[in-house]
């Protein structure tokens, strides 16, 4: 799993010109898996939306092996890929999904990514009707997101993820 994760980190950097933050990476990988590719990460709900312990452990392994380093920028942890001679590629079918998710969400704010992924998590685990997603997101996030914004996100999930 670690090498695929490293490839994703490098791709995000290439596409956006900057290092991904931890939250951004957790959410983008979540959405890649939601699009059907299997990276093997199980997600729970952390303070700020879906979060994977396994992904965090893989990041630590990459850091231990010298493949990435953690940079602290303000109050965000950025993940910087270190130049590597080893080939870090992913399968062509996975690459297509990875690239499309990165392109689609590269300019999406962490605030919005948190809502999209939380709403998707609710739809998959608690029920996918509009009302169930609305209720579930409010239960997890309290009053952080206005109802209209949650409903707009439900529309996005329907269009993009068939929910």
């Amino acid at each position: 799993m670690g090498k695929a994760l490293l490839a994703i980190i490098q791709k995000i950097k290439n596409e956006t010109g900057g290092n991904p933050g931890k939250k951004q990476l957790h959410k983008l990988v979540y959405l890649m898996q939601a699009k059907g590719i299997s990276l093997g990460y199980e997600y729970g709900i952390h303070f700020y939306g879906p979060y994977s312990e396994e992904l965090n452990n893989d990041l630590l392994r990459l850091c231990i092996n010298g493949d990435v380093s953690f940079q602290i920028k303000g109050q965000t942890h950025e993940i910087e890929p270190v130049d590597t001679d080893e080939s870090v590629s992913v399968s062509p079918e996975n690459e297509q999904v990875i690239d499309s998710v990165i392109r689609q969400y590269k300019d999406t704010s962490p605030y919005d990514l948190e809502l999209i992924t939380t709403a998707h998590f609710v739809a998959v685990n608690l029920g996918s009707s509009e009302n169930e997603i609305l209720k579930g997101v409010k239960r997890i996030k309290g009053d952080k997101y206005p109802e209209a914004k949650i409903l707009q996100t439900v529309g996005h999930l329907k269009a993009e993820y068939g929910i």
Binding site: K22, L60, R61, H77, V82
Partner: protein, 428 residues
Amino acid sequence: MGITSFRDPIHGFIDVEPLELEIINSAPFQRLRHIRQLGTTYLVYHGAEHTRFGHSLGVMHLVSKAFDSAVTNYEIRYGVPLFSSDVRAHYRKLLRIIALTHDLGHPPFSHAGEGVFEDGVKHEWFTKKILHETEIAKILRNSSDITSELIWLIYGEKDSEALKNPDYILPDFKFLKGFMDSDLDCDKMDYLLRDSYYCGVNYGKYDVNRLIDSLNTYKKGGVLQLAVERGGLYAFEEFVIARHFMFVQVYFHKTRRYLDMLLSSALKDFWGNKISEDTPLDVYLSSHDGVALKDFQEKEGTESNARRFLNRDIMSCVYETPVQSGRSENNIFKLIHNLILGNFPNVSVAVDSAEKVITDIPVINTYDAESGVGTPILTNYSSTPRDLLSESNLLSGLHQPINIKRIYAEREKAEEIKSSIRELTRGG
């Protein structure tokens, strides 16, 4: 029934409530008297004979102190109570029972004994079964407001399942879990002090009273998170450094790690099969360190694994990387490993790496406002929390994760191998 007290070498008198005493007196809890807290470490640090029994009492003692502090300090700082008095009392009682029961599912020799678990099986699986299927479930059913299901819902259940349960209260239950499972949880607070005391080392000591006194709560939107007041920063620093030292000097001690490998082999013979989720609970509960050691003694004449463990027949560590080694040190390690395999083809060699216990490596999770990871530091000069590293230059050197790799070889050949490694690295 009045209050009963247990005399504890770390915390002094620990008072227990009647419901807690009933749990303590149950057979599954009494079994913890025979599960060593640090597995094989007693064969390195001879004082490390302490068990999960005392640790469980210690965590229960600390968790209510920590909860009281975080909730009271919130009210002092923000002028409003965090919870109503009824809810506060309920959560406090609940947390103490969670702390008391959190280690019920440990196998013989604690974590060292998990080497015989099938992939994906964790001791928490047995904690859940013990909570739900033994006399402890009956004791809890007789209480008015705490059930096995509620304990597991807060402490052990996966989020995807917990959220389906209408009794799962957010953000409160995540906040409660933070006292048992976070960078600053009471499990760590107790075991650092306890393990340090029993091992006879000073590395794990820190100012626990100051740290607990400085706990607070960070509340924003749907987030309710355990936080530290700026005034407790130095105690927090001590705590983080204690974790680092204890990992390097005790938990990942080179001899202890090799003994863990020997123990796993001997335990495979003891259990017959690997431990799976299908292992009957009565079989699991009938095992503890004493039972396993008796089995090893009976097999000493016929089973080499049992004999080697009992006789402390260990390999020598012939090479070890620096504590926070990077890519170049990793490459040197590979080079040396290949050299040994090439030059000493008939010598038994074993390799160990901190990466094998990735979830146990102490990592400084500075507070990341985006992901919510880490512990927020509350200051009087900023409305947004600060993170540990921006407040503490002292800890910046510990930011890189621990990455120790080791090579072990037969004792008889150890000096010869070390000599060839010295030859290889001479002038390097």
